[in-house]
């Protein structure tokens, strides 16, 4: 029974990893590629480590496996956020079907600053309140 469960988890994890690799190959731009690799890759890796914990059925091994899973779950989003942010700042081209880019006319890649468009609006509202 334990062997059956281990086999299932190993195959599931490796198939998820294959899916992540396929997504990274086929997706059109950096952010969609990261969307594929980060989630499917982290889930696949975690599933395979859980398979090891199930197979050995030992306290020390389970603790180490759990540590790896927690570490993967904690670090995958952080690393993806950092790389996506760096990629945007470097100026990677977005996919032509991208619907929303909220930083488009606000971020200045030369000075590395973000212009806030609503600063004028808020000052205008305070002016109006003073007038009242």
């Amino acid at each position: 029974m334990i062997e059956l469960l281990t086999a299932f988890l190993l195959l599931l994890g490796s198939l998820l990893m294959l899916l992540a690799a396929l997504g990274a190959l086929r997706m059109p731009d950096l952010l969609t590629r990261m969307h594929a690799t980060t989630k499917a890759g982290a889930l696949g890796g975690g599933t395979m480590v859980v398979a090891v914990a199930v197979f050995f059925d030992d306290g020390a091994v389970t603790a180490r496996a759990l540590a790896i899973v927690v570490f993967i779950i904690l670090t995958a989003p952080v690393a993806a956020h950092l790389i996506g942010r760096a990629g945007y700042f470097v100026g990677i081209p977005l996919w032509e079907g991208t619907l929303k880019d909220e930083l488009k006319n606000r971020y200045d890649p030369e000075t590395h600053t973000l212009a806030s468009e609503d600063s004028e609006a808020s000052s205008g509202s305070t002016e109006k309140r003073d007038h009242d």
């Binding site: 281990t6 890759g41 090891v52 996506g84 700042f89």
Partner: protein, 93 residues
């Protein structure tokens, strides 16, 4: 037992296939961040290889290697991101 041996072999085959596919992206990747993403997935695939090898050889000690590799891969991703953001090469053509 034969089911597990068969599954371990199949897992090795699938992981190798994934490694080949992501290697194509690593070579093609039009920009440096694409290559960093590919390298990160390669590190995660290697963690999977180590886990499968631990089951294949019945040696649980290999999990320590997986811990170290996961840690190093995260540090490498952070380092690359910092290098890109603080003005590295804008393109690597």
């Amino acid at each position: 037992m034969p089911i597990l041996d068969w599954a371990v072999t199949a897992t090795f085959v699938i992981l190798s296939l994934a490694l080949v596919i992501i290697f194509i992206r690593l070579i093609k990747g039009p920009s440096l961040p694409d290559r960093v993403v590919a390298l990160e997935l390669i590190a995660s695939l290697t963690v999977g290889f180590i886990a499968t090898h631990a089951v294949a050889t019945r040696m649980a000690n290999f999990l320590d290697v997986a811990v170290v590799l996961a840690l190093t891969a995260f540090l490498a991703a952070v380092g690359f991101a910092r290098y890109l953001e603080k003005g590295g090469e804008r393109s690597d053509d």
